[in-house]
Symmetry: C2
Subunit: 491 residues, 2 copies
């Protein structure tokens, strides 16, 4: 089964696609750019979503739901926003079909044209701020801390499963505050929630930073980002949190009576992560045998495979496995028992390697004699024999170890592929030969950024929040700079 | 606060709308027919969704996600389906906007017209069966037991919050089976899951039955339904489960190699419930003081309100309340402590009555002296004093009692408003004077059904699955009938 996967060295992009499709995560659909998220992929997404949802609620947020459609005119209200979002989008122009007079199925009914076209939401700032207008009168109505789980549509021309699809699933937080200070704190709080989630649940190291003006969200004053490094050295923006200032409040005329009885515009943030995280997860940990999942996000953490020749042997093995599974369930570990009779153990082993199940336990007649089981871990592919009465505690420890090992492995990779450069020549050399994250001084201007992007395709991923303060000179203009930015090719 | 609600007697429809808006469940949006589900309403929906999701998983189903858009031509494949669904729908015709050459915002870019229009899914049978085609080759690939949580759009001309909106949230199960028997069993299993959920969680009695041919889902061989009675005597269809036969398999050419190595079309079911359940919940239990929630679906089960005059008194009361809340949390009961200083207790009482919080606990200086608290239940509005050290167990029992009382009250109401009639005159009389469910013999023909509907507006809600078998004569044609159908006006 593993043979079906293209290796990373051969073709990284094909390797990624093979894993997504062959591990049963997602597939292309009949609709251009739209994917089908298959049950196994959706089960991983559910685990991500549930944990993020808990973290949002712990930080005081509530969920709500706003319309899928946004009146076209709403996009024109915020000047930057319309440039960024209202262009490549799905436009609803009619609300009825009718039978084709020529008898060929159905056609659009021209009599059912909408007065104003509706846009399928690419993001919901406009419809939400239009709603907040009627919810906010006084400082007593603030803060509003709302999150929405939803589907959104951006008409992408070149799509890739999870990484860039016309429709994707995401969450978008939209908060409203009395003061600038509170809003900035909220935007920073949420980028930290994302970073913690990425690190602790996805076992994915990320760098928290600020976007340059050119890379900011359309309509934001400041965009915070978490950036991860994939195994091809490219950066992947895994989540963003925006301080929106009073831009949307002004666009939708949302004012409140402050404590001094003065009318003031409301301060805003928005923040989101999407099914793109699925792509990041795949590319951070997987290998040439298939998907590798961190135990905390694995739908099945331990799979049991029986080794047997006769029905009688299978029965004996099954009797050993049943109480072992119960012991694991009692410790909150999810398991699966694969006793399908029409597949050989070797086939099953390959299948669960492909699907990234963190731990595999095989039990055969010899194990029964010896009172052992064979335990294999997916991350290192190492095997060990474990006494049956020690399996539960071994697995508990092993799952923690795997989670930690995956994080450390990815962190080591990132460190090994991050370099400081002090000249433009060096930057170009590193980017073309080795890739990875390149730390370089930059004069802070859009011109310099654009020049580097044009010549190298690398973008400024972020200016790290905890970056070293260091006097330096821009690698292009030689103007003074106080901190290095991260340059990289990106997804 | 309660005064703001129109009474049921005065205007039932306005009463419903008042509760939905004033309890903070939902509101109209800037987009025609689309609603905003507010945090409190969404929290109730989340509780419904989570419980349903558990019940689906316990019956072997997995979640997945399919595209929002469906190519127009897919609808023409199944003849009945296109009649039922492809007419009133949101049609995406373009994928780009551009700056208005006249400088007025953005306009549709005529160069970005889709070759084939996309329909925003009104239901997903077509896109899903088109996908299943590539997933199913042999009987080994069956059954497929998939559910999807999603938003759908049906272009309704007359909308009502939750009950009928252009966009709504729902789940749709789509299963594929080897045999007719298995598919029928699945359709019946799922209508029973819905009935159990309605009864045990929503405290809403429902009748399980079969739809007449005229009322069936477009494309189904058989539609099962759960029907509930609202407080105005009207029926509300709360969930449906469809045996689709091989209709969609034939439309999308989905065949499998059966155990005898013959190619055969796959058998299908689909089943769904939606945010319409929120409307049913409101109308089943609420009263002229506001929302009444069954404890199992209440986001806050117990609210604590302090009674005090001075800061000192508040501190003392807070000290009594804190451990009481902890005792409830330890029993899995959700609570809220409303110590807002800018609202009087009476205002808070009215607010939580409006929001349907099942139990209210008030604690003041006199209670501290006596070691008691005042406990009020929302369903009957009764109050009692309870020793503080007995509060936890009292509340545990009380929540169960309220859940049961709500169910029994609704069941009594339905029984009191269900009558058997043996003549058409009687049927018309009951429907016009009293409403409710009318059980009458029917000859099973669409003509008779249509006639009754035309003259009385009543539809056949269902033929109850556990209905009495009884020889009788159709109230219109006098032809023989073996079972009474339920006639009613409906939402």
């Amino acid at each position: 089964m593993a043979k079906e996967i293209t290796s990373r060295n051969e073709n990284y992009s094909q390797w990624y696609n093979d894993i997504v499709v062959k591990a049963g995560l997602a597939d292309y659909s009949a609709v251009r750019g739209c994917m089908v998220i298959k049950p196994y992929g959706y089960a991983i997404w559910e685990k991500m979503r549930d944990q993020l949802d808990r973290m949002f609620k712990e930080t005081g947020h509530q969920n709500a739901y706003f319309p899928l459609f946004i009146p076209k005119s709403f996009f024109s209200r915020e000047a930057d926003h319309v440039e960024g979002f209202a262009k490549e989008c799905a436009v609803v122009t009619h609300y009825r079909l009718k039978n084709d007079p020529n008898g060929k199925g159905v056609v659009v009914d021209d009599d059912a044209k909408l007065e104003e076209e509706l846009i399928v939401r690419p993001t919901s700032e406009t419809i939400i701020w239009n709603t907040y207008k009627s919810w906010i009168q006084s400082y007593r109505d603030l803060p509003i801390l709302i999150n929405q789980w939803a589907n959104v549509v951006r008409w992408e021309m070149r799509t890739r499963l999870f990484l860039r699809t016309a429709e994707f699933l995401w969450q978008e937080g939209h908060t409203a505050h009395e003061t600038k200070k509170e809003a900035v704190e909220e935007a920073e709080r949420m980028i930290n929630v994302y970073a913690n989630f990425a690190r602790e649940w996805m076992a994915m190291p990320v760098i928290i930073g600020r976007k340059s003006e050119a890379e900011r969200f359309a309509g934001a004053i400041d965009t915070y980002t978490i950036e991860a490094m994939m195994q091809d050295g490219k950066a992947l923006q895994a989540g963003t949190s925006h301080f929106l200032g009073q831009n949307f409040a002004k666009a939708f005329d949302v004012k409140f009576l402050n404590k001094d009885s003065n009318l003031e515009y409301v301060w805003a943030t928005s923040w989101g992560v999407s099914t793109r995280l699925m792509g990041a997860l795949v590319m951070t940990h997987s290998d040439d045998n298939g998907l590798v999942l961190p135990p905390k996000l694995a739908p099945v953490q331990v799979v049991f495979v029986p080794i047997y020749k006769s029905k009688e042997e299978l029965d004996k093995v099954s009797q050993v496995i049943a109480p072992l599974r119960e012991q694991l369930h009692a410790r909150g570990i999810s398991t699966k028992y694969d006793d399908r009779d029409n597949y050989k153990p070797g086939f099953k082993f390959a299948e669960y390697e492909m699907k990234g199940v963190p731990v595999r336990v095989a039990v055969g007649p010899k194990d029964i004699e010896k009172g052992t089981v064979e335990v294999a871990r997916r991350d290192t592919l190492q095997k060990q024999f474990v006494p049956q009465n020690q399996l539960a505690e071994t697995v508990v420890t092993l799952l923690d170890e795997i989670q930690e090992n995956l994080y450390n492995r990815a962190l080591d990779y990132r460190k090994a592929n991050t370099v400081k450069v002090d000249t433009y020549e060096e930057l170009k050399k590193v980017l073309s030969e080795k890739g990875g994250f390149v730390l370089a001084h930059w004069d802070g201007t859009a011109e310099t950024e654009a020049l580097i992007k044009e010549e190298t395709k690398a973008t400024i991923r972020c200016i790290p929040l905890d970056g070293e303060v260091e006097e330096g000179k821009c690698i292009i203009t030689g103007k003074p700079s106080k901190q290095r930015a991260i340059f990289a090719l990106a997804y």
